[in-house]
Amino acid sequence: MKASRVLPFFVFSTGCRAAAICACLCLLSAQSARASERAFAYTYQSLTAPVGELELENKLTWKSRPGQIREFAFQHELEFGLSEKTQLALYVANWQYDARERGSAYQSSGLEIIHNFTHPVKDLLGSAIYGEVQMGDGLFSLEGKLILEKKFGPWVVAWNGEVKAEWEGRRIGDFQDSAGELSQTLGVSYEINRSLAVGVELLQEVPLGAWHGPANPEWYLGPNVTVRKGRFYATLTTLFQSTDRQSAPSVQARTIVGVEF
């Protein structure tokens, strides 16, 4: 119940929540689309922002672990179209709220770059590479992704393969612990109309610990919905663990709300 005081939305009954979400979707689906939105919350797509476009993305990831442990991670990101095929993003602040301790803490800031190689409609297969660097309070991480995507009319299918390395320590140059993770995501989305798309996402995470070897993979699967209106868009994915790893989150959800300028 502690978390409910923080986010009252979670205390509503399932029926109320479903009705509220349906009402919002119906309202938004009557409008035309303009935002160059993301179709998925976990899976990146291969196309980059148009040259000169600036977009603000706010990301919230919620994870529920066994024992009623709930985590909320926030990310505020500014994206900028550098060229026809390259996009740069600045992670202004990543921070986390711990529902158990009822406190929040700054984690890191960073930079992200995406370079597109091929187009998901014009070419046989859309492709892009993604690089990210993050630095924070005793934290340094590097992340790389290969992004593949294909658009078939109203259908979008995208796949990401990702490798991540993370170092922790008291200060830069004195990092003690390192860990890695391999992961892949697959997203399939169907555009019902200009303002509403629904789909599913699949996530596989393979924690590498201290690089001693791969641990057992965790699989997650769940539905996805994206709504858009004018310069705004929002996408929400809820993933349920389909494996049986007690140490990993049983449910996780991510929502991204974006606005372009």
Binding site: A35, V121, K151, F152, W219, L221
Partner: protein, 127 residues
């Protein structure tokens, strides 16, 4: 309970689900390739503004494929009337930040492709 049900479904039907998904994606691929907007033909020049060339229309088709799909699925050129396209294209061009030249080429291609598709549907020979 939904999580344990999901785990059970994945463990029992995992391989079948992967096979079904592969067939689904392959079907989409074929459908997607077939559903691309019409290729540029010399006939389209009859319906475009004076002075336009085939490379101009090709460029307009590329703008249609690249800029429009950034935000949404493509509509068939004959879905809207000429007047509607003349209203829609400038509106969309603004939000997708394409140049005025690209906007003009896009409109030329759409009107040319639209006229050709309508003529084909009507069973008329354009020449």
């Amino acid at each position: 309970m939904p999580i344990s049900s999901l785990q059970a479904v994945v463990s029992v039907y995992g391989r079948r689900l992967v096979c079904a998904a592969s067939v689904f994606v392959a079907a989409l691929w074929l459908e997607g390739c077939a559903g691309l907007p019409p290729e540029v033909t010399p006939r389209m020049l009859d319906f475009s503004a004076r002075g336009k060339t085939l490379p101009d229309l090709e460029e307009g088709r590329t703008v249609f494929l690249v800029a429009c799909t950034r935000c949404h699925a493509l509509d068939a050129p004959d879905k809207f009337s000429e007047a509607q396209w003349r209203r829609i294209v400038p509106e969309m061009a603004e939000s997708s930040k394409i140049s005025q030249r690209a906007e003009g080429l896009l409109l030329d291609y759409l009107l040319g492709a639209r006229a050709q598709l309508l003529a084909q549907k009507a069973g008329r020979d354009l020449r």
